[in-house]
Symmetry: C2
Subunit: 223 residues, 2 copies
């Protein structure tokens, strides 16, 4: 079945309120790293930047506050959330557990066609990597597609949404070198093969180990 294009985060619906647009733009600014963790932002400046008054900005900031991407103390300027190394380890622990679950579910519910497509895309990307023509990040995409294949809507929203954004904060802080790790391809390939053989337990365990290895590889900066 063709899946319904993920979440309710429809990018730029035709009738989006000003607050919605500011929310989208602000989120992007944070994920892209133009707004760095710990940085204070001013409602007024954001308002002029986005061409509206402070009302919609306030709303967007509140929404991001609900997602813990922005923190705000009374009477102080809102700050982009700051993620320490300890937080990343903890978030990765949760990610390992949840992506493991996603794998187990995907092994049961993902369609043969989707698995085959994932497999061939993975091969194609690997070939392109060897040829030096690929610079997108397959890491994220493989994980995202498996999460989507789990059929668990909340898992997708959280793994590919909230948790992804939270972790992107730290990526910015630590030099941002995503993937490009030769072993990752093998691990991904093994996972996909477990999916194809519908071995949920194996897929889960492979994915968990895959992410736990990523924890071990976290940069050891201690700011």
């Amino acid at each position: 079945m063709a899946q319904k294009l993920s979440t309710d985060m429809d990018s730029a619906s035709e009738t989006a309120s000003h607050a919605d647009r500011v929310y989208e733009a602000l989120t992007q600014l944070i994920v892209d790293g133009e707004l760095t963790p710990g940085m204070a932002v001013s409602e007024a400046q954001l308002a002029t930047r986005f061409g509206c008054s402070r009302g919609p900005v306030r709303e967007a900031v509140s929404r991001l506050q609900g997602q813990r991407l922005i923190v705000q103390a009374p009477n102080l300027r809102p700050r982009i959330a700051s993620i320490e190394r300890g937080d990343v380890v903890q978030l990765f622990q949760m990610r390992a557990a949840l992506e493991g679950l996603a794998c187990r579910l995907a092994a049961e519910t993902m369609s043969d066609a989707d698995i085959a497509a994932l497999e061939s895309d993975l091969e194609r990307w690997h070939a392109a990597l060897k040829a030096g023509t690929a610079d997108d990040i397959p890491e994220l995409d493989v994980h995202r597609r498996i999460a989507a294949g789990s059929g668990n809507r909340w898992l997708v929203e959280w793994l590919s949404g909230d948790l992804y954004r939270l972790l992107s904060l730290y990526r910015r802080k630590s030099g941002d070198r995503p993937g490009r790790r030769p072993a990752a391809h093998d691990e991904h390939w093994q996972i996909v093969r477990a999916l194809r053989s519908r071995d949920g337990d194996l897929a889960e365990s492979l994915m968990t180990s895959h992410i736990e290895r990523a924890i071990a590889r976290l940069p050891h900066l201690d700011s």
Copy 2:
């Protein structure tokens, strides 16, 4: 070590903004079930109810929107999120994975004193239950204390915070009969014993099964 009293959700700090108070009150209203899932609320009415203008209300609503407890379509009144049975199953799947993780971590990091206290409280509560003098919910408390014992701050915030509130929506919708199940005590007791013997794998597996049993017991209403 005495833990630092959980999150940044300090209830009623002395210098709380109006928006903060509305946020707290509104959250409580939803969790307590006075505002039922799917119900439309009016900013203006909330504003008069809480004795402020629409600004702070709008902010609180946005924050709850960020936590997916409230949904809002353009130009329409905000609605309390509506959780269907399928959603609950999916959320419980995630809960099983995460509480399993919490158990495994707690088996490593929880102090002997905390485990002993949990054990004796569990016994005391069980005795009170038999005597008919207990009507608080131990279910939640055991789970909450194990989550806290995991030492993973984000796990606590999500399990005892966001996820708990989300699931409370459905509890309201389905007759709300939390726990009071005799077998649960045994299962809790087994889990705590696994914690005491520092057997993380066993604790994890016991907790996962414990919650999966709860999934199987979910009411079969299909609204």
